[in-house]
Amino acid sequence: MAGGVISKEKAEPNLTPLLDIVFQLITFFMLVINFASDNYDQRINLPDAGSARPVEDDSRISEDRLVLNVDSEGRLLQGEKVMGIDEAAQSIRHQADLVKLSLRSSGVKFDPATGSLPTTIILRADKETTFGAVLGIIKACQSQGFRKFALKAMIRS
């Protein structure tokens, strides 16, 4: 290197590994965001409970699930639709009919008097709602043959 001679060669940092890492991070966030928006309704404030079991650890709930979100006023939320108890009961009946139809098509007989539907009702009720409102939804489910329930709560750390 001679004094007074300026090298005109540009520095060329290798950006490929950086790009690799950034793409991996993007992939991670895309996947996580998809999972988070699955069934969670942000309008529901769940009650706290320390002994609630984590969802993944519970083998007792069936694959077939119906998620019901109940707000602080005791209304059933289905997407943007807000339903009172009568409309909610109708919606639950419609869901039960679909389950029964699916059972019939797979050759399983369902006796409404004694049988219970294999679907697990995932009940996400707001902590400010009353037991009476939650019971109304539970009774509507029971009258259609749903027996398995999972009451959701936030796990206290």
Binding site: L15, L19, G50, S51, E128, M154
Partner: protein, 168 residues
């Protein structure tokens, strides 16, 4: 970009990586800013049977053990929850005895019923004031589940609506 291979200088395609990196960082910023961690939700799984026959059907669902062939009504611990005007938990009665709703006192009382080998209880029927807030009911469910787990029993809970005259 020049590469040397076997002593021969080869000219490769000069792909500009910087714009791609710019885009990637913009995407990354978008996802980081819109990311909301999935809440840690848990659940209490239970078989809830129609209220009219809750005790009898709970007994049918429960597998009868050889050591415990008592009727369901004797194996079921009756609990009554009453709320105040605001729907807050005001009174807890276990087996017709008023219990403090302080979590520690409640846990001790439940242990007295479930840990005692002579006590027949392996399930509970909770009669709940319809005006009681769901969060307060969950506190009680939480306490019962803990007590069942401490007693190494499978939690078996069922609910019914508290009607006028019940548990008075």
């Amino acid at each position: 970009m020049a590469h040397k291979r076997g002593g021969i200088e080869m000219e490769g395609p000069d792909v500009p990586v910087a714009p791609m990196l710019d885009m990637a960082f913009q995407l990354l910023t978008f996802f980081v800013l819109t990311y909301r961690a999935a809440p840690v939700e848990g659940q209490f799984v239970m078989n809830l049977l129609p209220p009219q026959a809750a005790t009898a059907m709970a007994a049918a669902a429960a597998e009868p053990s050889a050591s415990n062939d008592l009727p369901a009504s004797l194996r079921t611990l009756p609990v009554v929850l009453r709320g105040d005007d605001q729907g807050r938990l005001a009174q807890v009665s276990i087996a017709d005895l008023d219990v403090s709703n302080d979590p520690k006192a409640l846990a001790e009382e439940l242990d007295r019923h479930f840990l005692d080998p002579d006590a027949p209880f392996d399930q509970t029927l909770i009669k709940v004031d319809p005006n009681l807030r769901y969060s307060d009911l969950m506190t009680i469910i939480d306490a019962f589940t803990d007590a069942f787990v401490r007693a190494k029993k499978e939690p078996k809970l069922s609910f019914d609506e508290l009607r006028a005259g019940d548990g008075a």
